[in-house]
């Protein structure tokens, strides 16, 4: 069995005194992939923010390659190999596209050449300022910027949200390449359940901050009754769903 990269053990976390996640246990093996599904506001983004150290963890532990990192400062976590692509993309507006990519880059397989090959559009816009990009370009940049830190695990927070179908196709292909060809482990939070399940091996469904279902992604994809019950709304509404 592959080494466990990331493990959450009975995690309870939230903001200030309010608890958003409770009793969340999850393991992501090296090269593994997990889809995190659920309706808006069930704590999917909070799950990723907790791994990155931006919430207050009141119970349980976050373990990276066997070491407890629950109390580790947020800026030290990416240096262990954790990559995070935030939901709002959060491009640095006063940096150029190229600077956004190199500002936190660490040596490894992913360098400028490799990410420009993955997203040729970014190469064309390398001198543009971060705030002069379209939504799709911003998402490509956010993903590429995280790749440049050469993570072993990439946390993707709704990377396809609000984008045109053609861009979604490009990004989906990129994620597939990262996960399948390059072996980067991914945790994918996504409203487009069909795409997320096609890209991942395993899936969990969150409801009100706890995991209510876990299975293989293919299994969940084929189980229309379950899908309908947990996230049925999302399959039809995904195009109009508000961020959450």
């Amino acid at each position: 069995m592959a080494e466990t990269l990331l493990a959450l053990r009975e995690v309870r976390a939230g903001y200030g005194d309010s608890v958003v996640l409770d009793n969340v246990t999850l393991e992501v093996p090296a090269h593994g992939s997990v889809a995190v599904l659920g309706r808006n506001g069930v704590g999917k983004s909070t799950l990723l923010l907790t791994v990155m150290g931006y919430t207050s963890l009141s119970r349980g532990a976050i373990v990276w390659r066997g070491e407890d990192i629950s109390r580790l400062a947020p800026h030290l976590r990416p240096r262990l190999g954790l990559g995070w692509v935030a939901q709002e993309r959060e491009i640095f507006p006063s940096l150029s596209v190229e600077e956004n990519l190199t500002v936190a880059a660490r040596p490894g397989r992913w360098n400028l050449k490799a990410v420009f090959e993955l997203f040729p559009r970014l190469a064309e816009r390398r001198q543009s300022k971060g705030n002069h990009l379209s939504g799709g370009e911003q998402q490509m940049l956010a993903m590429a910027r995280s790749l440049m830190t050469n993570p072993s695990l990439l946390l993707l927070d709704e990377p396809l949200e609000g984008l045109a179908p053609i861009i979604i196709e490009q990004l989906t292909a990129a994620i597939r390449r990262m996960a399948l060809e390059e072996g980067t482990a991914i945790v994918l939070v996504e409203q487009h359940a069909d795409i997320a399940l096609a890209l991942t091996e395993n899936a969990i469904v969150l409801e009100r901050g706890t995991i209510v279902h876990r299975s293989g992604s293919r299994e969940l994809r084929d189980n229309h009754a379950l899908l309908d019950r947990f996230i049925g709304l999302k399959l039809e509404e995904s195009a109009h769903a508000p961020p959450g």
């Binding site: 947020p74 800026h75 030290l76 990416p78 995070w84 959060e90 190199t102 936190a104 910027r145």
Partner: protein, 260 residues
Amino acid sequence: MTLGMMNFVNLAHCSFAMLGGYVTVTLMNGLGWPFFATLPLAFLAAAVVSVVLERVLYRRLYRATDLDQCLLTIGIVFVSVAAAAYIYGTIQQPVRLPAYLHGSFVLMGINFAVYRLFLVGMALVITLILVASLEYTRFGAQVRAAVDNQRMARGLGINVDGAFAVTFALGSGLAGLGGALSIAIVGLDPSFAFTYLIYVLIVVSTGGLGSIGGSFAAAALLGISDVAGKYYVPQLGSFLIYLVMLGMLMWRPAGLFGKR
């Protein structure tokens, strides 16, 4: 830089400048050091003291309101003024520049003071180094990234606190250097920290928050109009600088190169 980039209202900037000035006069008059040898120490002393203050006091107020930051830093100004008066007394400190920086020469009918030209050159060089290191180095990009979005910067592994501490030290060190360089012209007594605070604030707001080039342009413009005003329209005297500031801020409320 601290005011514009880190969004910290640091009214104590001129206290660091004053510290640099006192370091220079103490080393020159007390220990007989040559003027130029004291400059790196003026920079260093201000930088080190500022980092200590940053770690102990400033960092607690990064998320506080502007008013809280003002109150803390104006308090530091009062303390620094009192400390300077306690140690050095309230008299003007004498500075003796090296002979080759004295005097003046006449070129095309205009009288140039050597030391003033030297200061103009220094200002240009420092500005160029600053702009270059902020715009073209990875560290500069990390500082700008941290200013844009601290959470995302941390999420990529950038040491935001460290970058800010270095930036702050650099800014304060330059204040110390500026203080040491300026005292030969403007003099040094404990009121220094207050007297020049107003000019610093005028320059930063007119230049545009967070813009080094803007601060430089504003400083040059305001300095030139101030001096020119005192020469050619002495009736207006020291008021001209405020009129220029008013005019420029009405023309560009965010400052010359300001974005916010």
